[in-house]
């Protein structure tokens, strides 16, 4: 039996790889299709990269979630970094403050079934996304 949650500390680009591999393994184990496992792994990669790029350190937590008869995966990306001043702007395609391609948040929202974000300037950011098994 798997642990109820998997935590991956995110400090460097290597941790991004670890987190997305854990996510894919968990998704496959739960019976997600390889296509959905790829969407989950890609979302983790984007969320973990935001942590490394903007907050330098944080954590990715993977959880198995249940709702009525459905099973799914929840990914929680949290950091105590600078936070996002304007979430509405960050959720627009192409918006970036670090010269990168942008936070990739609108893209992650499209890859997953549920998306929530909370951020406070100077305190940090938490993004919670979920994917339900088809």
């Amino acid at each position: 039996m798997r642990a109820a949650e998997i935590r991956v500390a995110i400090h460097s680009d290597q941790d991004i790889v670890t987190a997305r591999q854990e996510g894919r393994a968990l998704a496959i184990e739960l019976g997600f299709s390889t296509g959905d496992a790829t969407l989950i792994a890609t979302s983790i990669s984007e969320l973990a990269r935001n942590i490394v790029s903007y907050a330098r350190r944080g954590e990715i937590t993977l959880k198995i979630v249940h709702a009525s008869s459905r099973q799914g995966i929840s990914i929680i990306a949290s950091d105590s970094g600078p936070g996002i001043r304007d979430i509405r702007q960050a959720m627009r395609d192409g918006f970036s403050t670090s010269g990168s391609l942008g936070l990739g948040l609108p893209g992650v929202r499209r890859l997953m079934d549920e998306f929530e974000i909370a951020s406070e300037p100077g305190r940090g950011t938490i993004v919670v996304v979920k994917k339900w098994k088809q």
């Binding site: 790889v17 969407l39 990669s45 984007e46 391609l101």
Partner: protein, 120 residues
Amino acid sequence: MEVPILKQGEVLIATFQAALSDADLNHLRMGLVQQVVKFRSRAVIVDVTAMDVMDSFASRTLREIAHMIRLRGAETVIVGIQPEVAFAMVQLGLTLEGVATALDLEEGLAYLTQKFKNTD
């Protein structure tokens, strides 16, 4: 992580592994361009068949590799993007605009052979 780069005549073939970190990708970008210069290669095939995740950083790096190699007067073909990876890229809004792609290594080589024939 080392990425094997194979020299086949005027073409370099780089085979990307699944678990490439950002640092690996950066390293590779420089390495590939240097090899193109060293061997006076006319083309590079980047085989991404094994890559199970193509996120924004990886696709940007691939685009940069292709553009740098074009500035050297050589051609880049990305081969082997898996269907589910392609789906995730489209959902994320990632494109490889201006970069040639082919189904697999064989198709990539065929594309280049045709291209060389037209320019020789």
